[in-house]
């Protein structure tokens, strides 16, 4: 299914995940620290540049290749996988797709190499699924030719690391015919009035960076508008459509990790005088986990292949995201069950998988939102 280069990429990332990520990630997770050293090595491998052209320092690959890498990382750990996913498909991609030449020249070289991270701020404390409800406002100060931003954003990935350089903020910039006009504005880290709140205490993704952001009269040049004024809604819908495929790949990786760990454990753990893998109840659980993982992979492969060849992919991306995230939760629950009491201990990877799985049904569009997208696409 993967071509020769995609398979070589998959193997390389798999080796990296086992040799570099696996030995240290549990400690980062426990201490809630961001794994700078791992991210630096991922950047050296060019993972952050996978879907971008060489002109901007990218690897000249495509979105499919990015998803292959994300799946392999998530097979070992979701925190590093979501860091890559958010950095590329939420951070750098909107600038690449919608930015002016000047914005691309300013930000892409450092983002594409992974030396720096960008974040995408859409969700607010009061609005998530209903993104059109955004309350954060940006007013153009004609005198100084600057945007003045006020409001707050919630749950923003990669927004507060030492290497975060810019956050794309969705803000209301006016009103036309009683409808909110939404635009996206680039706010560099460290701009006065832009405050990154302390990290959340999260159930999962404990080695990834998530913050609430507040904006108090934050001023940035008018030229920081991403692309055209009033295009914000369309821009983030397209960003999220693509991002769903990457989240589906991430969820597939987590589901695969559950199979890997359960297989290993079922062969070595004994009960009633034999390996638990001899019991049909355990065998069937693992067989079902494999079936779910395989079908989730087929779903994201299909959506990504459509995206890459320029075909419609909106419905397929929603299907892949919905299916993969739901089966990831199921696989994580079953893998924990197979591990018995040890599955409830944080030092076992399946415990991390269990804690990391639930967010997949929530982030980048909840399962309910995916069903709404699918139903709408079917004409309802």
């Amino acid at each position: 299914m993967l071509n020769e280069e995609q398979e070589a990429l998959r193997q390389t990332v798999a080796e990296f995940a086992h040799e570099v990520v696996a030995p240290v990630i549990a400690e980062h997770y426990e201490k809630h620290t961001f794994p700078y050293d791992i991210i630096r090595q991922m950047s050296k491998m060019g993972l952050f540049g996978l879907p971008f052209p060489e002109q901007y320092g990218g690897m000249g690959g495509d979105y499919f290749a990015l998803c292959v890498a994300i799946e392999e990382l998530a097979r070992v750990d979701s925190s590093v996988a979501i860091t890559l996913e958010a950095a590329v498909s939420l951070g750098a991609m909107p600038i690449y797709r919608f930015g002016t030449e000047e914005q691309k020249a300013t930000w892409l070289p450092q983002l594409v190499t992974g030396e720096a991270l960008a974040a995408f701020g859409l969700t607010e404390p009061g609005f998530g699924s209903d993104a059109g409800g955004a309350q954060t406002r940006a007013v153009l100060d004609k005198a100084s030719n600057e945007w003045v931003i006020n409001g707050s954003k919630a749950f923003i990935t990669n927004s507060g690391t030492d290497v975060t350089v810019v956050v794309a903020v969705a803000a209301v910039t006016g009103e036309t015919d009683g409808r909110k006009e939404i635009s996206i504005i680039l706010v560099p880290s460290g701009t006065p009035g832009f405050h990154v709140q302390p990290g959340y205490s999260k159930v999962g993704w404990c080695a990834s960076d998530t913050h609430e952001l507040t904006f108090d009269d934050v001023r940035v040049p008018a030229a920081n508008l991403l692309g055209n004024r009033g295009r914000g809604f369309a821009q983030f819908l397209q960003t999220l459509d693509e991002g769903r495929i990457a989240i589906a790949a991430l969820a597939t990786g987590l589901a695969q990790g559950c199979v890997d760990e359960s297989l290993r454990y079922a062969k070595q753990r004994h009960a009633f005088g034999q390996p638990i893998g001899n019991f049909q109840a355990i065998q069937f659980k693992i067989a079902d986990m494999e079936v779910r993982t395989h079908t989730a992979r087929l779903a994201w492969h299909d959506a990504a292949a459509r995206l890459v060849r320029g075909a419609d992919f909106k419905r397929q991306a929603a299907i892949a995201k919905l299916h993969a995230s739901e089966i990831a939760v199921t696989n994580a629950r079953e893998a924990t069950q197979i591990h018995g009491g040890y599955g409830f201990m944080n030092e076992f990877p399946v415990a991390r998988f269990w804690r990391d799985s639930k967010i997949l049904e929530i982030g980048e569009g909840t399962s309910e939102v995916q069903r709404m997208v699918i139903a709408r696409d079917l004409g309802l």
């Binding site: 280069e5 070589a8 390389t12 690897m59």
Partner: protein, 259 residues
């Protein structure tokens, strides 16, 4: 600087490995075949030298058809091209014959510097770099944990059990490296894509002017008479502390050269 890196495909030392029952050679069919780990450090060292001093890095492999996979993987790390010595008659060659073949191939490449892993994880002989240096009339700088190049002068820190020795020579030279010398890079996707387009030249024994009788089982200077699986691990030594426990522990550590 023209650098040639020797790369061998070996059975993965982390997985089960077997010798064939018919001819006592490595059973490559049942193995997961990978680049010899130490050779990745040799490649990394060559790439770093190219980055610092310019020049060209060539991979040289002697091995069966499937070694081509390892050559591609090596190329994806960044070397410029590769030479694959491929000939059915090579099957069963001993170290001495292998060095004859590799030396002949190296003569066609005229390198300033040959870099090799200090040992391969399958045979672990550590002899090939010395044999090659001898055949090429080049300096042998073996077992390096550090390599510095200043013009035509090469200096290594040669790793020993007691510490290290500083050894200097001028090019041409054969340097063999341990895994303490650097941290090999992972191939990038661009590297993987580019590796497909890099030239890989295949050479037969005929191309190298070597008679098939000088290599393989017929030309071998050594033979595997018999082989058996390593016996299962023995239980450790138990030291009961009857007042002398500390002394006995230290004696053990000294005997194993830990202190």
């Amino acid at each position: 600087m023209k650098i040639v890196v020797l790369v061998k495909q070996v059975p993965d030392s982390g997985a089960e490995r077997n010798l064939r029952s018919d001819d006592s050679t490595v059973d490559r069919d049942s193995a997961n075949n990978v680049i010899n780990e130490m050779d990745e450090y040799a490649i990394e060292e060559a790439l770093k030298l190219r980055e610092a001093h310019g020049g060209e890095v060539t991979i040289l492999t002697m091995g069966p058809e499937r070694a081509a996979e390892s050559i591609r993987k090596a190329l994806s790390m960044g070397p410029d091209k590769a030479v694959h010595v491929l000939d059915d008659a090579l099957h069963g060659s001993c170290a001495l014959a292998t060095s004859k073949v590799l030396a002949a191939a190296l003569k066609t490449l005229e390198p300033d510097l040959v870099i090799a892993g200090a040992e391969s994880t399958d045979a672990r002989g550590q002899v090939l770099p010395h044999m090659l240096a001898e055949r090429l009339g080049a300096a042998a700088l073996t077992g390096a944990r550090k390599l510095t190049v200043d013009g035509a002068t090469l200096t290594i820190e040669r790793q020993t059990e007691e510490g290290y020795e500083v050894v200097t020579a001028s090019t041409p030279a054969v340097v063999s490296v341990w895994d303490t010398i650097n941290e090999p890079r992972y191939p990038s996707f661009k590297g993987i894509m580019e590796a497909k387009k890099k030239p890989v030249q295949t050479l037969s024994l005929g191309d190298l002017g070597i008679d098939a009788g000088e290599v393989g089982f017929g030309g071998a200077s050594t033979a595997v008479v018999e082989h058996a699986r390593r016996p299962p691990r023995q239980g450790g030594t138990r030291v009961n502390d009857d007042g002398e426990g500390g002394v006995k522990l230290v004696e053990f550590l000294v005997s194993e050269k830990f202190v």
